[in-house]
Each structure stands twice: as C-alpha cells, then as structure tokens.
Symmetry: C2
Subunit: 114 residues, 2 copies
DNA sequence: GCAAAATACATCGTCAGGCATGGTAATATG
DNA sequence: CATATTACCATGCCTGACGATGTATTTTGC
C-alpha cells in the first residue's frame, strides 16, 4: 500500500484540491471526499472538518457558491460550484505550487537537478 | 525577481532544509539563514523564530547536536552538527517529500502527467 | 422487522508550525 | 562615537488540519 501524506505536507493545498474537483463539475461534501480519495488512489483521505472549513473559507472568498439540491428522496445535499473568481484563484494556486515545488526541490533534495 | 513562497507551502519543510544544510558542514544560526537565502536565490528567507524553534525541535529529537564555538574574538557562535539519526531522518523526509510531491501534483494539477 | 452501517450535514476544541515583535550583547564601520 | 551588523533568544498570535462528537436519513444484513 502507498504511503499516506502528512498533515503538514498537505497543508495549504486543500482549498486548491477542492477547487480542482469543482472545476470538473458541481459536487457536494461527501462526493468531494470520495473524488479526492479516488484521485489519490487512497493516499489521502480528506477529513470532514478539513472539508467543511475549507468550503466555508472558499465561499467567504467568493471562490465557490452553494445551493441545495432538490432531492425528491434521500438526504439533502448541498452542492458547490466554482465561480469565475475561483477559477482564477485555482489557476494562480497551481502556478504558485509549481514554483514552490521547484524551490523545495532545490532546498531539500541535493540529488535534484532542474 | 522570483516569487516568494508562502508560509503554508514551506510548512513542514524547514526542519529538512536545515538538516540539508548541516549535512554539508557544521554551521550556526546566522550562517544557516544565509545558506538558505543563497540556495533559494532569495526566494525564501528563513526567519529567526522559525530557525530557532526548528533547531530546538531537531535537538530534542536528537537529529542534531550543538556546541559552542571558541571564538577568540567576535560574538559567540553555537554550532550545530547533524547526527546519524538525523541523517536517517533527513533521508526519510526527502523520500516523503518526493511522494507528497507526486501526490499533490496529481491532486491539483490536471495538466500533470506522470 | 429491526439493528447496524452508510450517507450527509455540521460544530467545537486542540495542536503545531511559522513568524511578527521585541530584547540582549558584542563587534565592525563610517 | 553613534549606527549597523552579527548573533543569540523568548513571548505570543494566527491559521489550518483534524479528532471527537452530534443529528438525521437511508440502505443493508440477518
């Protein structure tokens, strides 16, 4: 089985991960968690408190919007959509990540050559 | 000028960065900061409180040891050496980083192909 | 038919790491 | 001789991840 990722190393990326999921299609809490587990082949399982505080953060920043699904049956679901502003924030975060990735490579990995 | 890295993205890497510096040679606080600034071409400047709390953490974990330099003149300097245990921890951290790097790539960057 | 598990939402409180601020003391420099 | 630089260190704040816990509904196993 693959290694799990530590909290400290995932920190700062959860918002981006969630926006990435929402860029594909609108989704709701539990489904987002499942998507992330799937994408990561089980290496990372997004925890509920992390998910919900991230969603709140993102909505407050107007990076996402939410609406209640009209399930005729079954539990209610709150769906989330990414906004234009969110899409820009996502692209910016990916750019920042690429930059940070290269920097950290250089700073910790002496076998790393760009 | 290159982009600076955000606190959240550097989080969890400072210990490893410092151990990487000490693997080359024994060093002391201010010199470590200068080394990191140099290695990163100014993209990351290690802050003093981060440095000293990291050094404490590392020493407590027996990953490094310290001794006072015998400066016949000039301010006293506390030197740090990496231990065998520290070297192992460093190698482990690099391994973990490579893993996390690939995972985060997959999770946030939809243009990323391994 | 009912207990247990799964689905789906959410809050509270804790913990750790990074760092802004501020402080001390010695040496070098203009 | 004042100011900057070198070098050490402590206190306290903020943020983000998440363990624990809670509620309600639906599905599943026996």
């Amino acid at each position: 089985m693959n290694e799990a990722i530590s909290s400290d190393l995932i920190r700062g990326h959860i918002d981006t991960i969630i926006m990435r999921v929402l860029r594909k299609q609108d989704s709701y809490g539990y489904e987002i968690i499942r998507s992330v587990t799937l994408f990561s082949s089980g290496q990372y399982e997004l925890k509920e408190p992390s998910l919900y505080s991230s969603l709140k953060r993102l909505e407050k920043a107007s990076f996402i919007r939410s609406y209640w699904g009209d399930e005729s049956q079954g539990g209610r679901r709150k769906y989330y959509t990414i906004t234009q502003k969110g899409t820009e924030a996502y692209e910016n975060a990916v750019h920042e990540w690429r930059n940070a990735r290269n920097l950290i490579n250089r700073l910790i990995d002496d076998k790393f050559v760009e």
